[in-house]
Amino acid sequence: MTAPLKLSHNELAALLKSVFQACFAHGQDWAAMAQSVVWLESHGFDGLAMLMESFDEDLCLQAVECDVTETDTGHIVDLNGGSLILAAHMIADLALENSESDRPARLIVQNARQPKALIAALPLCASQGFDAFVTADGRGVYAKSAERSYTTYHSAETELCLTCGAGLNAPQSDIDRTAKAIRCQARQNLMDGLFVNHKCIEKLQKIADRFLVEATEASRKGAGE
């Protein structure tokens, strides 16, 4: 069995940007998608595994179309069966749009594949000064903006939900992975690189290669020959 490859964050991000451009050209925010996957992977939330699940059998991705409905308690975002790994940044946008200093935003996400990928919205909220929670199926992840820390915990919530606001309190229920443990893991991945299995990389590389243009004598002239 071949040992997994170790990739730097920058290397993985560059590969993923090529993958997303190969899939969507410039029709989507390919850089934000790559950032989501790398962040999830480096913090131990299986970004690459979720991305791999998102491909169809032809190794293509479907762009996500969201429908947003306003309710008394917040918003419902219907992903129409799309993958959250491709849309976490857009959900973060909606949360930030609706977060006010005295009123947190609450978004319930429905009909989404790879629901755990909603966690990738947390760093986007945190970097703009908001605390945030993602909950689903009795689990939650809490982001504390001031410390840029992340904690996983057991939650009573069952719906897939992103809550974003100023000064949200940390969860009182059972902590699963502490902020320190998650921080250590992220740091270790930065120091040593990210372990990624060969098959996954080969598949991603194959997709990224679709974005390359065939080399010809004429094209070599376009590089200064």
Binding site: L5, K6, L7, S8, H9, N10, E11, S18, Q21, A25, H26, G27, Q28, D29, W30, A31, A32, A63, C66, V68, H89, M90, D93, L94, L96, E97, L124, S127, Q128, L190, M191, D192, G193, D209, R210, F211, L212, V213, E214, A215, A218, S219, R220, G222, A223, G224, E225
Partner: protein
């Protein structure tokens, strides 16, 4: 706020040049190195901190093939620099990225290299892009011999003679690098790790520049080494002042160009620091007999430097000759006056009477005169590059931002085919960036996203058709293709200099301006354009040698000129 707003606190606004002047691509293509260029910062540091750099292991045959390990002790860390040198068939020697074999390959890595580690590196470093290294490696690079020059120098040294400086002046180096990789490529340490763990290299491109510095040292060492093996009885070592005059060559092509477009916050910051340094000198640089004398000396040296540049490129020769002529007339102008009130008076004269190339040469000279006024800026060159969407902003506000900060982009008429006729793409040959003709060649559907001006125009048109009172979050939800550009616009609109003002999709785009801009920040001089798409140049020419560490902290090696042979004889 993004960017670097120090100039506001310093009251320098009146002295800062406007973005419309500074960010024009043809202007950026005239920049010269200056004291905060990365090579200069690096050499100041290693001289000041007295880095201990030793060739700890030299395992070379009589032709200089084998491996060498340098060990580097800085005040805070220990690194190794491992070089593999081999025979390369001259017929396959190429400066192109797509080459697959080189005269020498190198890596800079943390800690000491034991036998196991050496074998790991030997199995991977010579393969370059096809190998894998690890996060203990910081830089991966390679270089090719300048065969004619190297053989000439070795021959002279073997005969007991120094190389003729006129011959050396034509090339100026023995080896030239063809790629220098860092920031996590091929499994190496990420930039974030370099910043947090290797503080010696926490400034932009510092490790990459150090690698080039050591390639230069190795090229000089190897010339001495091979000459002695070839003729032990007669060989002499190259004189130190000749060694200082030997730089390290570099061939830079389109691969460097996308970096400038893809890192606008960083480039804005580099430009802003440079302009702040210049503004400080215009405001606070006292014009005295001494500084006028220094200026005169340096301007004369710069003119000689330009005269000594040997290039076959006709346009570059004309540019150099014109800059030299205009600089000499500037000198005459201010000598004919009864003194200067301040340097702004001189720069205003140049702006009114000289080409941009000469104006920037003049600025580069001024920037050399007052190190005390500017060197504290060298720690301001890094920036946290984040381009975040501000989802609450109304569409009308974003439209206004575009009109205020991207007016230059809106002025381009994209209905004219010429304005869109170039596209940039990555070739399947080592992902090398190339240019294509959009309406004649295949591949435009796979173009790299570099046409910022065109993307701004597209986003602007869609914004104008959208509800102006809506949030930008709703706009990008409807038009996800604009999300990247909108967050970039929101970010760059907060900076002083913003984007490079150019339509890189234009039929007449000159990418060489992008290359020279970045190379000037590296500290590179002696530009020798080989076409509009790639340039040869020389790094570290005139710079101190490793043997100078501990003997000098002099930073006066800009505008290198041939050493005086009379002085050398003495």
């Amino acid at each position: 706020m993004a960017g670097w707003p120090q100039h506001e606190a310093e009251g320098l606004d009146a002295y800062m040049r406007p973005a419309s002047v500074v960010m024009d691509l043809s202007r950026l293509g005239t920049l010269y190195p200056y004291p905060l260029s990365f090579m200069r910062s690096l050499t100041r540091r290693l001289l000041r901190e007295k880095w201990d750099i030793q060739r700890a292991q030299v395992s070379l045959d009589d032709n200089g093939y084998g491996h060498v390990i340098y060990e580097i002790k800085t005040p805070s860390a220990f690194y190794s620099y491992v070089i593999f040198a081999k025979y390369l068939d001259p017929d396959i020697r190429s400066d192109r990225v797509i080459a697959e074999d080189w005269d020498m390959t190198v890596t800079l890595c943390e800690g000491r290299v034991d036998n196991d580690r050496l074998e790991f590196l030997r199995a991977n470093v010579p393969l370059q892009e096809k190998g894998r290294v690890d996060t203990r490696c910081i830089v991966l690079s390679r270089a090719n011999k300048s065969s004619r020059n190297f053989e000439y120098v070795v021959g002279r040294l073997a005969e007991g003679k120094q190389p003729d400086l006129d011959v050396m002046a034509k090339v100026g180096y023995l080896y030239r690098t063809t790629a220098v990789y860092g920031s996590g490529k091929f499994g190496m340490a990420d930039w974030d790790k370099v910043c947090s763990e290797y503080s010696d290299f926490a400034r932009p491109f510092s490790a990459e520049m150090f690698s080039c510095f050591l390639i230069r040292d190795f090229s000089l060492f190897k010339a001495d080494y091979v000459a002695k093996r070839r003729s032990p009885q007669t060989a002499v070592s190259m004189a130190d002042d000749v060694k200082r005059y030997v730089g390290i060559g570099n061939a830079t092509g389109l691969g460097m160009a996308p970096y400038l477009i893809n890192h606008p916050l960083l480039i804005n910051n580099w430009i802003e620091v440079r302009e702040t340094a210049l503004a400080r000198i215009k405001r606070s640089g006292q014009v005295t007999q001494e500084t006028l004398g220094d200026f005169d000396c340096l301007a004369q040296k710069a003119c000689q430097h330009l005269q000594e540049i040997a290039t076959d490129n006709r346009e570059q020769n004309i540019i150099n000759a014109n800059a030299r002529e205009e600089m000499l007339s500037c000198l005459e102008w201010f000598k004919a006056r009864d003194g200067l009130r301040d340097w702004a008076e001189l720069t205003a004269h140049a702006e009114a009477n000289c080409q941009p190339e000469t104006q920037e040469l003049l600025n580069a000279i001024l920037l050399e005169l007052y190190p005390d006024l500017i060197l504290d800026l060298e720690d301001s060159l890094n920036v946290d590059e984040r381009y975040e969407l501000k989802p609450n902003m109304r569409c009308a506000e974003v439209t206004s931002l575009i009109e205020a900060h991207y007016d230059w982009a809106l002025e381009i008429d994209f209905s004219d085919e010429n304005c869109l006729s170039t596209f940039w793409y990555a070739s399947e040959e080592k992902r090398e960036p190339r240019l294509g003709k959009r309406f004649e060649e295949p591949g435009a559907e796979k173009e790299i996203y570099l046409g910022i001006a065109h993307s701004v125009r597209c986003a602007y048109d869609d914004l104008k058709a959208f509800d102006a009172d809506q949030s930008i979050a709703r706009f990008v939800l409807k038009h996800p293709k604009h999300r990247y550009m909108i967050r970039r616009i929101q970010t760059m609109s907060q900076t002083r200099y913003g984007e490079i003002r150019a339509n890189v999709l234009d039929a007449d785009i000159l990418p060489i301006h992008l290359l020279r801009c970045k190379l000037s920040f590296f500290g590179v001089g002696k530009f020798d354009p080989r076409s509009r798409l790639w340039v040869r140049n020389t790094m570290f020419q005139g710079a101190p040698l490793i043997s100078d560490i501990g003997r000098t902290t002099s930073d006066h090696w800009c505008f290198p000129i041939k050493p005086d042979s009379d002085d050398r004889a003495a």
